[in-house]
Symmetry: C2
Subunit: 159 residues, 2 copies
């Protein structure tokens, strides 16, 4: 199958949102997606850009995305974070995920950042093996911690 | 012990760098700190601010920092990430870490973000217990993946 990868434009935002929702439905968390098409438009394509998105296109259909933004390491300075790499179900196993990851690493190299980071589920052995083969360091002893909206409220009520 | 917490200014950058180095030395990774005082000055206090830093002061000495920046969730939009919370060794066990975390959560609330995230070592049970008591969700099944500078080069050479 052939596809091309390019930077997303404002016209892709609806397709990007569709893929985000598709993945959330697949993960049985459809209600977790609070973000709207409008939010994505403002946050990614307005004056203050909060992310950069690559889209993979097959003919004229967006079938995958990789969404990245800068983070800041107190040891290395600016680094690039891959927040989401989504491949539409119809395109799984076609090499599209790898192609998108390639674009992200090329982009990191152009930005001259010293690191690309992302997160992986620790039981997702095929993904972990794939990343390690690519030279990434899966830091199994580092966990992600999140304090959500409700948690923020409760936290502040308790101090 | 008494201390006050405030937003960092350009004048604090040397002290912030000292604390970053102090922690790296404590973690036996002194050479990992590639960032310079100049970098911190440009990245945190220039036109394009890549982070916001809180400092804790005891008398006139900076004895702790909390460094945060925005990330972007494709489900929740802008979220706040706590990259580093450092308490000088002389001040461990004084409640300074909690006070800094309090400021970070208050700041998140002011920004109206839907999440604060950070990372923790999975064997650091006291820290995990502390965060969970505070209402945070320690996602033990999510690991951090990093492709470093060398890894980026090797990756690109292999495609």
């Amino acid at each position: 199958m052939s596809f091309s990868i390019r930077l997303a434009t404002r016209e892709d935002v609806k397709s990007i949102h569709d893929l985000i929702v598709e993945l959330a439905v697949f993960e049985k968390e459809p209600d977790a997606v609070e973000i709207t098409v409008e939010d994505l438009l403002n946050d990614g394509f307005g004056v203050d850009k909060k992310f950069v998105c690559f889209v993979a296109e097959q003919e004229t259909k967006v079938v995958g995305i990789a969404l990245v933004y800068s983070r800041y390491s107190t040891w290395k300075g600016s680094v690039l974070h891959l927040e989401d790499l989504i491949v539409s179900q119809s395109m799984r196993g076609t090499g599209l995920g790898t192609a998108l990851l390639n674009e992200v690493v090329k982009y990191a190299s152009r930005l001259k950042v010293k690191r690309v980071s992302w997160e992986v589920l620790d039981w997702n052995e095929p993904a972990i093996k794939f990343y390690e083969q690519k030279g990434a360091n899966v830091m199994r002893d580092w966990d992600v911690v999140q304090l959500d909206e409700e948690g923020i409220k409760n936290y502040l009520n308790a101090i």
